[in-house]
Assembly symmetry: C2
DNA sequence: TCCCCACTGTACCTATCGGTACAATGTTAT
DNA sequence: ATAACATTGTACCGATAGGTACAGTGGGGA
């Protein structure tokens, strides 16, 4: 008996490991220990090692946000897309029980390794949200401010709810933000 | 010639190193390299090693926030203290060029090592801010929401401005938050 | 059926990890 | 002046870091 993986199966496991331990904290031995995947398989799928693993995770996250959040914000009905964003974000971050890996990477030196992916993630999020807010009737300047406020608020709520070990803080913050953006459109 | 340090001189240097590299990323050799302080001195002042160093840094941060932010929010004129908070916070975080070490520690496994200090930092900040907001005329429920919103907003703005390498995002977010809390009192 | 090759586990590599030991240095109190 | 002591740099420790080499395994196409 031998368990055989595909690259696509491995990425979510890697993602959780990096989320919990950070880039530097996620050592190869801890990765194999938590995912159950041996070094042999890991280096078979990611010859570039840890850096390629984390890069693949970031690309996977980006793809998910693109289809679930950014694209609807840009293309669909603005009010609906914004409303859906709060639901999907709360779901994705497990009501504050899961952090944003991109935000975490941005905070320390890890940023230098993945500078482009990290910048893109936040630029595209704020721009998509601003686009939706403008279609919903906001002036450009106000839409920009509100979009940044929304994204900041989400990231900050993740920090705070983790620090306090209280997912309710996250859900509550999302509600407050949702009301605020709703009131402005 | 021999350079002689005191514990109090070392802590700020350690703080910057942990801020830039994170707890796991701050290896002993990188610490000595960046601070210019050798292992001998480091272990003389902090026999508990890296963990004691980071603990001392957190205690130092706590003391600074206590006297510069929390105490005024609790004891001084509410409007003045809140206004001073924005100025001091912008200054402390160097207009988004410096991160919040406590928030960064909260995001990964490092939280488990410093759980109490991390929780305290955010609880005391939100409670002090809520106290000031209530003295400024807010109802308790609204004050609680606004206080959480303020602290979340600051943390999120630090993440976003670092991700985008744009300190203006931070300063702008502080202004928006200041206006919002001002309008509610 | 059997062969090929994608996939896996194990053993091993060097560099660096956090930490210790200790002799040398210089400052201070007497 | 000198004894006592706080502070420092250097050499060293076992453990673990990220990464490589490679032989074995087993499922799918011919």
């Amino acid at each position: 008996m031998k368990t055989v993986y595909e690259r696509a199966d491995i990425i979510p496991l890697l993602a959780e490991t990096f989320r919990e331990l950070g880039y530097e904290g996620a050592t190869l031995s801890r990765i194999t220990e938590r995912t159950g995947i041996g070094k042999g398989s890991l280096y078979h799928f990611f010859p570039g090692g840890k850096e390629e693993m984390a890069g693949a995770v970031l690309a996977d996250i980006d793809a998910w946000f693109e289809q679930a959040i950014y694209r609807p914000l840009r293309d669909d009905d603005a009010h609906q897309a914004i409303a859906a964003m709060w639901v999907n974000v709360n779901d994705y971050f497990r009501g504050g029980g899961r952090i944003c890996l991109v935000g975490a990477f941005a905070l320390d030196d890890t940023r230098e390794r993945f500078s482009e992916a990290i910048g893109d993630y936040f630029i595209r999020w704020t721009e998509a949200l601003r686009s939706a807010l403008m279609r919903a009737g906001c002036a450009e300047k106000k839409a920009q401010t509100l979009a940044e406020e929304g994204v900041c608020g989400i990231q900050g709520a993740l920090v705070l709810s983790r620090a306090l070990r209280d997912g309710a803080v996250f859900t509550r913050a999302l509600e407050t933000l949702a009301n605020r953006l709703e009131a402005a459109t």
